[in-house]
């Protein structure tokens, strides 16, 4: 096993992921390295394996072969993947994935159960985060009473709940109209830049990809280009 380079936040070598006993090869050997503070866009046509890659980075899924290290720790062998997801990673999904029976403030608090914060600390932090995304007036609204853009802002606030080092966003604006998409994307950019977080963003929108510092282009389970600006 190749030892990971010390400077990399994420390092993948010969990463593959197969489904249905090898019939479906979503990733066919992917190598890359992402440094702390990078803003990486992964682009490519549907089914090129970009979402699969994101799930591997988030430890929601395990690779079939190859190695994947986070700060020098092998993710597939992580002793506590839930803790990794809770403390190191913030997920932003295309379909928001808010819990319908919880208010905006409550949705933001959900990941905090995995930390030592008290109930009042959780409430306070949820308020701050929703204020940060401009929703301090929507604290007690249920997701069904929020617009699409507002929902994604709540989801972004949730992804920041435990101050993760790594934000993973899967088509975060894919379900939004262009105006909302624009403002949500601005929010994501500012979060990445102002707070210096590492951001890996899957998109097929070239204008969004164009604002990232680095673009990984994928095709048929492989990385075909790696452009840095």
């Amino acid at each position: 096993m190749t030892p990971p380079s010390a400077s990399a936040l994420l390092e993948a070598k010969a990463l593959t992921r197969e489904f249905d006993e090898g019939h479906v090869k979503a990733l066919r050997g992917v190598d890359f390295s992402i440094k702390e503070g990078d803003f990486v866009a992964i682009v490519g046509p549907s089914g090129c394996g970009k979402s699969t890659l994101l799930q591997l980075l988030g430890a929601l899924d395990r690779p079939t072969s190859g190695t994947l290290f986070y700060r020098g720790i092998s993710l597939p062998d992580h002793p506590n993947p839930a803790a990794y997801r809770a403390r190191e990673v913030g997920f932003i999904f295309q379909a928001f994935h808010l819990l319908p029976t919880f208010t905006a403030a409550e949705n933001v608090q959900i990941p905090m159960f995995e930390t030592d914060r008290s109930a009042s600390e959780r409430r306070e932090r949820a308020f701050e985060l929703l204020k940060l995304v401009g929703l301090e007036h929507r604290l007690d609204h249920f997701p069904s009473k929020l617009s699409g853009g507002e929902r994604q802002r709540v989801a972004i606030a949730r992804s920041l709940a435990n101050e993760p080092s790594l934000l993973l966003a899967d088509e975060p604006t894919g379900n939004l109209d262009s105006e909302n998409a624009h403002s949500v994307f601005d929010l994501i950019i500012s979060l990445q830049q102002e707070q210096g977080r590492t951001m890996v963003l899957v998109t097929h929108d070239p204008t969004i990809a164009g604002r990232a510092g680095r673009t990984l282009r994928m095709m048929d389970g492989r990385i075909v280009s790696d452009d840095k600006r």
Binding site: S51, N80, A82, F93, F102, F113, E114, R123, R158, D170
Partner: protein
């Protein structure tokens, strides 16, 4: 928001289903409370009755149907000399029709015997002597016969006066007409006839010695049977059947409850697959997911148990106030039984939640969260 809020929200998302599940558990638990409460009340009634009288052994005739067959009072003299016997009391117990009631217990007790000691006067007085034409009534008997102090009461051919209302500390006594032994013997023309002897033993006597004593009594007077108070009931076929049936029915009710909760929790896990995957994705451990499902089903059990205990307790009270049962049965709704029922309900909840919880923790978040 606390973890508890999360659990409550889980139950609240389908109020009707949660309500129906609660109804299912509560009916099951209500059945447990009612049936076990009744059978325990029955058991306790007899035991308290005998124990309260200071009775350790009851001597009665072999055979006999509703009440034991009479035998001669001289039997007492034959056994009184046996070791460990502290006191004896001759009794003649009849079950007969009194005035408008079909079945009334007439409990005639040896004048001065210890069986009188535990009667507590609620009002009026005790008979003055063995021959006063008077009776005292247990509270329930007074209610059933609609008697108050000073009223006449027709016992067989004799008209007696109700001089007192008593509390016997046991159901049997509360439903009895209590009078002196010679008086009843005179009324039914059976001088010297008794059908039971209550025996109290000296305080230091062991259970073993009491058993030995019953053996000696039966050896000395072959026509009688001597049983200890604790045996008295456990030897009763009818009672054993009642007990077995009440627990059997309860178990069935509990099983139905388990299936109901399990069904509900499985449905909720299937329905919430997506949400559970989101929880996993934002970092919830599988343990916390399992805990959430288990708490939900335990909470269903707890609420169902509390409601069921309330329904059962009220139902039993209503039931025992119906004319058919009144006076025959005082349910024993001890805190222990109510507590046990709630604990059973919670256990039902937890047990039924185990499989759904396990199922939920095995979900794979990656597939459920594919974009789109």
């Amino acid at each position: 928001m606390t973890f508890f809020t999360v659990v409550i929200r889980g139950l609240w998302r389908r109020p009707l289903r949660t309500g129906l599940t609660l109804a299912g558990i509560s009916i099951g638990i209500a059945a447990v409370v009612a049936l076990v409460g009744m059978s325990r009340g029955f058991e306790k009634g007899w035991q308290v009755g005998l124990k309260a009288r200071g009775t350790d052994i009851v001597v009665s005739n072999r055979g006999g149907s509703l009440t034991p067959k009479p035998f001669d009072a001289s039997v007492r003299d034959r056994i009184a000399g046996l070791p460990h016997i502290a006191a004896t009391c001759n009794l003649l117990v009849e079950v007969t029709s009194v005035e408008e009631s079909d079945l009334m217990i007439l409990s005639a007790r040896e004048w001065g015997g210890f069986a009188w000691n535990n009667l507590e006067l609620v009002s009026g007085r005790m008979p003055r002597d063995a021959t006063e034409e008077a009776a005292v009534l247990g509270q329930t008997a007074a209610e059933v016969l609609k008697k108050k102090i000073g009223d006449p009461i027709q016992i067989e051919t004799k008209k007696l006066t109700v001089v007192g209302i008593v509390k016997g500390g046991a159901l049997v006594e509360d439903g009895s007409v209590i009078l002196s032994l010679p008086l009843l013997q005179g009324i039914i023309g059976a001088p010297n006839q008794i059908n039971a002897i209550d025996i109290g033993v000296t305080p230091s006597t062991t259970e073993q010695q009491i058993k030995e004593l019953t053996r000696q009594i039966e050896q000395l007077v072959p026509e009688v049977r001597a049983v200890t108070v604790s045996e008295h009931l456990s030897h009763n076929e009818g009672f054993r059947l009642v007990k077995a049936m009440s627990w059997g029915t309860s178990l069935l009710a509990i099983l139905v409850g388990v299936l109901g909760v399990m069904n509900t929790m499985l449905m909720t896990v299937f329905e919430r697959t997506h949400e559970i995957c989101v929880l996993l994705a934002v970092g919830w451990t599988r343990g916390r997911i399992m805990r959430m499902i288990l708490y939900e089903s335990a909470l269903l059990g707890l609420f169902g148990g509390v409601i069921g205990v309330a329904i059962g307790a009220i139902g039993v009270q209503v039931l025992s106030a119906t004319p058919a049962i009144k006076g025959l049965l005082q349910p024993d709704l001890s805190i222990a039984l109510l507590g046990l029922s709630v604990v059973i309900a919670i256990a039902v909840g937890i047990i039924s939640g185990l499989y759904p919880a396990w199922r939920s923790s095995r979900l794979n978040p990656s597939q459920a969260l594919q974009a789109g």
